[in-house]
């Protein structure tokens, strides 16, 4: 009998402990909603848009990495979200919503993240999930992730079949293409709508002159500067 009680009590202890562990895992979430637009208009695949420079543009592919999310806290320290690497495909709804676990009992001041994949991941072989090279966002002839792909057609584009192709990447100095972003968050805010306005990119890039960049270098680095300006919050 005594033995039985002992077993039951130890089992109960274990159960409470497990429940405690389980409750620790239930965390509040912060949601990131990505809203791809062209000048305020919802971005659709193979739909015509006109840029300020007069280029009529259609998009077939817009993909980019948002990575290394962290929250800046009230005490200026950072709460990092481990392994937060997201491949966003603007034409795939399921990638436009990402959920981040909020730190417990801490005030969040800012959400910080990178556009692109950090260099160390471009130097450490084959990774899985959103970083799997099978996603087509990894260069073959020269190692490194492609941080962003923008592909489509424009009647003003002198390339074959009027196609424009921007593959922005490169992790070696001086031509780095990783760009950092951060947005302030108000008290109790639990979501952020991240607007990606393709128009701001094509207002600055004239497809007549510049329609294909597919290697790391000065051009890619400049395009990364232009690309990061597409991001704002609602």
């Amino acid at each position: 009998m005594k033995e039985d009680l002992k077993t039951i009590s130890s089992l109960l202890c274990f159960m409470f402990f497990s429940m405690f562990l389980f409750s620790q895992q239930v965390k509040k979430e912060f949601n990131i909603m990505i809203e791809p637009v062209f000048n305020g208009e919802k971005l659709l695949k193979e739909h015509w848009y006109v840029s300020k420079t007069g280029d009529s543009i259609q998009f077939n592919k817009v993909k980019f990495y948002l990575t290394d999310f962290k929250f800046e806290l009230a005490n200026k320290s950072y709460h990092e979200i481990n392994t937060s690497f997201y491949l966003i495909d603007v034409f795939n709804e399921s990638t436009l919503f990402q959920s981040l676990a909020l730190p417990k009992r801490k005030k969040v001041k800012k959400v910080c993240f990178s556009l692109g994949v950090k260099g160390s991941l471009s130097e450490s072989g084959a990774h899985s999930g959103d970083l799997d090279p099978a996603n087509g966002m990894y260069w073959a002839w020269q190692s490194g992730y492609i941080n962003m792909k923008i592909e489509g057609v424009s009647s003003n584009c002198p390339a074959r079949k009027n196609k424009f192709t921007f593959h922005i990447g490169g992790f070696q100095a001086p031509y780095l293409t990783l760009r950092k972003l951060s947005f302030p968050v108000s008290h109790n805010q639990k979501k952020l709508t991240l607007v990606v306005d393709m128009a701001s990119f094509f207002d600055k890039v004239s497809l007549k002159k510049n329609h294909s960049v597919m290697i790391p270098g000065e051009e890619a680095s400049e395009l990364a500067d232009t690309a990061v300006k597409m991001f704002s919050v609602k």
């Binding site: 274990f14 159960m15 497990s18 471009s122 130097e123 450490s124 072989g125 084959a126 990774h127 899985s128 799997d132 090279p133 099978a134 996603n135 087509g136 990894y138 260069w139 073959a140 002839w141 020269q142 190692s143 490194g144 031509y175 270098g217």
Partner: protein, 344 residues
Amino acid sequence: MMKRITCFVGVLLLLSFIGLKVSSTIFTYPEYWPKPIYDFAKNPVTEEGFQLGRNLFYDPALSKDNTISCASCHLQASGFTHIDHDLSHGIEGKIGTRNSLAIMNVAWSSSFMWDGGINHLEVQALAPLTNEVEMAETLEDVVRKLDTIPYYKDLFYKAFQDSTITGQRVLLGLTQFTVMLNTYNSKYDKYIRKEGGGQFTAQEKNGLKLFKVNCASCHTEPLFANNEFKNNGLAVDMTLNDYGRMKITQNSKDSLKFKVPTLRNIQFTKPYMHDGRFETLQEVITHYTNGIKQSETLATELNEAIVLTPNEKVDLLVFLHTLTDKDFLFDKRFSFPKELITQK
């Protein structure tokens, strides 16, 4: 609750089982060699992973039209390069711009390809796989193709304890095969280890001496390579206009520099140089003694002319033949897996 605990314990057991399983590695090398550069922690070599990689290496399913495999340009009997072909071949008879490199002792390489554009062994296979004039395929498609083949589901399960095929696993599997292609049983190695079969003749001894003076600064023992890029004084082939490493670094200081390749099994890896311009080792040696073309980026090691008498040239050649490792070139573990035909 009990269920959850049982489940928890089960997962723990499973994890420890997996932990045990992958911690065994079959990768070995002579203890007097430097430590490998490849980090095995993320991808320990197991017999099952090696066999998966071996099947992938020999399977033409990796090319767009299912006609060529890695082995098409990397044949075992020639040190895993394409004997008698100056430039690499691809699907539909397409021809590349460089001579396929030998695959040997790759765990000691810090970068890959003639221009060093690839920085890690695991992602090396992406280059030939996706090159339009080589296999012209995508990793995504390879995953899709393999996923329909029960034979591969089984191989992936054995290698990763999970039959899900991913791009990462295809690459890790291939790596487990190529990283095992190690050669260290040549006559030279036996000479160094003072083993039977390693008695050098006077000619071979003199060849080694000449080698140490004239060649070893770049083709450094025991790997006979140094992980560097050098301009070895070859005139530019105007039909290719290949400036090598400069394409990767976009730095004019790297103009005409190419990877220093290993000389192991050099007797069988002909033709030689990044564009396969030399058919014989005699031509290679003559290039170094009489053919160096001066240019701004020429390797400093070649500033001073290499002078060899005809007899010394023969001795050097005889020494180079001691780097042949027949155990490696004919090792059945590295050859075509017959199951690929009988069971796939």
